[in-house]
Symmetry: C2
Subunit: 406 residues, 2 copies
């Protein structure tokens, strides 16, 4: 059960984008597992990928194809990550792309492949290529919900959101979908995300918009601290909206669009945490008054990845000593612990590095019972701050990850 998160619904079509999905039989059981996103070859595409050295074959191929300036398709399968599959994995990804290119009448470089699922198994290429005609025949502007459903793996709900804004009097739509639940950590969380808009944006500006948005969303979440081999986040701007093309970083429309893309990315990123494997609590960790954003992040992730802190949240136990222990190993070399304060919601638990005199165990327990908890750590040594989202660590987490594959 995700923490206060409903399945994606009413996702708005984005002019210039068509989608399709089908059941190619990659999973043993029948479920949709292959999706296609189509866009005009004049659409601008920007992307961010995992930094894992064991990047999957589709990540390697998609990066190569992105060097091109013209793209038309994202081909996405669930059920198999095509990761740690060596040169034959690369060939498998390329074969899938070639087949689509052949049938769609475009070059192979115009196809970007993506995979998610179990690592280390050969991609069932024939199942994919056999399903491509079905995908092409099924393309529709209205298939966002189906695609959101197709790309999920251990997720318990689909993740998607739409927003609209006005640019030069034109209504512009932004719709995004994502998958992710486990193997989630800072440097591009383990996930796939596809965000599309009909806004007209120069490609370089689009990449900057995506980088900005990702750095405050997908790069700020943590479920288990593990980093995927297959992470990818795409932002596609079809340019179908009639406002003036955004080419200048000072364009007033840029800020408006950035704000909405940020919102969409934050929604999707936090949705991944809310649906984190076994999650029963959604925790916002805000570190303030650090000397740098990096040191704030280091402390935030020390807390967010601490199994002891996460199990205490699961138990609704205000065991704040574990929070202090995590802060203390956060890598700040000259931390004056006597200046540190810790709040759970508005309850100040730690003041001057020790238990707040007015704090009572009852007050702490009251806060910890909630499904959503905001933790604030004041380092009192600077002006930087950073926010990270995480979830708790439950029996269910162990069950999910001990049973996955079997």
């Amino acid at each position: 059960m995700p923490v206060r998160l409903q399945p994606a619904k009413n996702l708005l079509p984005v002019p210039g984008i068509r989608l399709a999905s089908t059941s190619a039989g990659i999973y043993a059981r029948s479920r949709p597992d292959l999706a296609l996103i189509e866009f005009g070859q004049d659409a601008a595409v920007s992307a961010v990928f995992t930094r894992n050295s064991f990047a999957a074959a589709p990540v390697i191929v998609a990066k190569r194809h992105l060097v091109n300036n013209s793209h038309r398709y994202c081909l996405i399968n669930a059920g198999n990550a095509n990761a740690a599959t060596g040169e034959s994995g690369i060939q498998a990804a390329l074969t899938s792309c070639s087949k689509l290119a052949e049938l769609a009448g475009c070059s192979v470089e115009m196809v970007l492949p993506f995979s998610t699922g179990v690592i280390g198994q050969d991609l069932p290429v024939e199942k994919i290529t056999n399903s491509i005609p079905t995908l092409l025949a099924g393309l529709s502007e209205n298939n966002w919900n189906q695609c959101a459903e197709t790309i999920i793996t251990t997720d318990t709900v689909t993740k998607g959101v739409s927003r609209q804004l006005e640019l030069d009097g034109c209504t512009v739509t932004v719709t995004g979908i994502a998958k992710g639940s486990g193997m989630i950590r800072p440097d591009m969380a383990t996930m796939l995300a596809y965000i599309a808009t009909d806004a007209a944006v120069d490609k370089k500006i689009l990449q900057r918009i995506l980088d900005n948005a990702v750095n405050r969303s997908f790069n700020r979440i943590c479920v288990d601290g593990d980093m995927s081999t297959n992470d990818a986040c795409l932002l596609i701007a079809t340019g179908k909206a009639k406002h003036n093309l955004i080419t200048d970083s000072k364009d007033a429309n840029l800020e408006k669009l950035q704000t909405v893309i940020n919102e969409v990315c934050e929604f999707l990123a936090t949705a991944i945490v809310r649906d984190g494997e076994g999650a029963t609590k959604f925790i916002t960790i805000n570190i303030k008054n650090g000397q740098s954003v990096q040191e704030c992040l280091d402390v935030a992730y020390a807390i967010a990845t601490s199994p002891l802190v996460k199990t205490a949240f699961f138990a609704s136990d205000p065991n704040w000593g574990r929070i202090l222990a995590a802060i203390g190993r956060g890598g700040i070399s000259e931390l004056d612990t006597s200046q540190v304060s810790v709040y759970l919601n508005n309850c100040r638990i730690v003041h001057n590095g020790a238990r707040d005199k007015d704090y009572t165990e009852e007050a702490g327990q009251q806060v910890m019972k909630a499904e959503e908890i905001a933790m604030k750590v004041d380092l009192s040594r600077g002006e930087a701050d950073a926010t990270v989202w995480t979830c708790d660590f439950s029996y269910e987490y162990v069950k999910i990850n001990a049973d996955y594959r079997s």
Copy 2:
């Protein structure tokens, strides 16, 4: 249930060391919770402490007192960490030391305090000071087992070992005890360890022996990746043995003694992992042919702290993709993944960065069923290597840490 580990027994007395323990009532239930170790003031003492910024009050006080060259007592309580207790915590530790000093007729700096247990609660000083006469009256050379029992918290068994060696024809004894089960991570694992020998060693040499031993034992273990506020490891050399004092780093006796101290520390460190919270498997991770020991350690700890890897071990599931994903986020910037091999015991699972052609799932499962598993990762890029010990992640881990305190 620890993984193939018996409770400490038959611990040998160390000439020059006397010990005592009692139930001071720090725990609500009746159990021994206060221990005393006494040694002659001419004994050499060396120590290693946690690097956590939120070092506990006893750590701060013990470090101060260690600046002195002469010590006589370790006063150790379980049930309360006296950490994150601010200035009053320091006073509490000092009051305990003063009372002992007064009754034993020594200076307060001759007493080294240690605490382990829940963080953030005031130390019940009176319970401790009231029990000191009992401790002093109960001192005996034969109380190692009782002390091993007194210092444990979430440990399920006591941890201790004795070894003997010959130096210049004299029999020398080394006996060590330790506690630790959770909040265990590289930079001084979360633990207390007391190792004593009647060898005669100059203090500076003794510190070097301890640093060497700790770097290949207590600094190479990981249960949950959390770092304690209270870690401490002491090595005491009473000098009662009649061999020549070891003052020179080229002394032939030094190597002999170092080897035995290494053995004792490795036994105690791996005992902590074997008794890791909820552990059902004991895993040795050896990273070889890296460019530096540090990069080998980075990769080893990425694997050892990965909840996905640890839950796969719990499930006896050879889900080696998770191992590769952890290696890939281990921080090596230019890792040629096509050179990486992974072995579980003698079974080569990954060769040239992908599944070994001869590997079968059955073979992997066979290895994973065992209680002890050796993982070897060959990075094929240098000549350095490092070994780390860890355990799996089970339902029981979550249970222990969700229930602790309540």
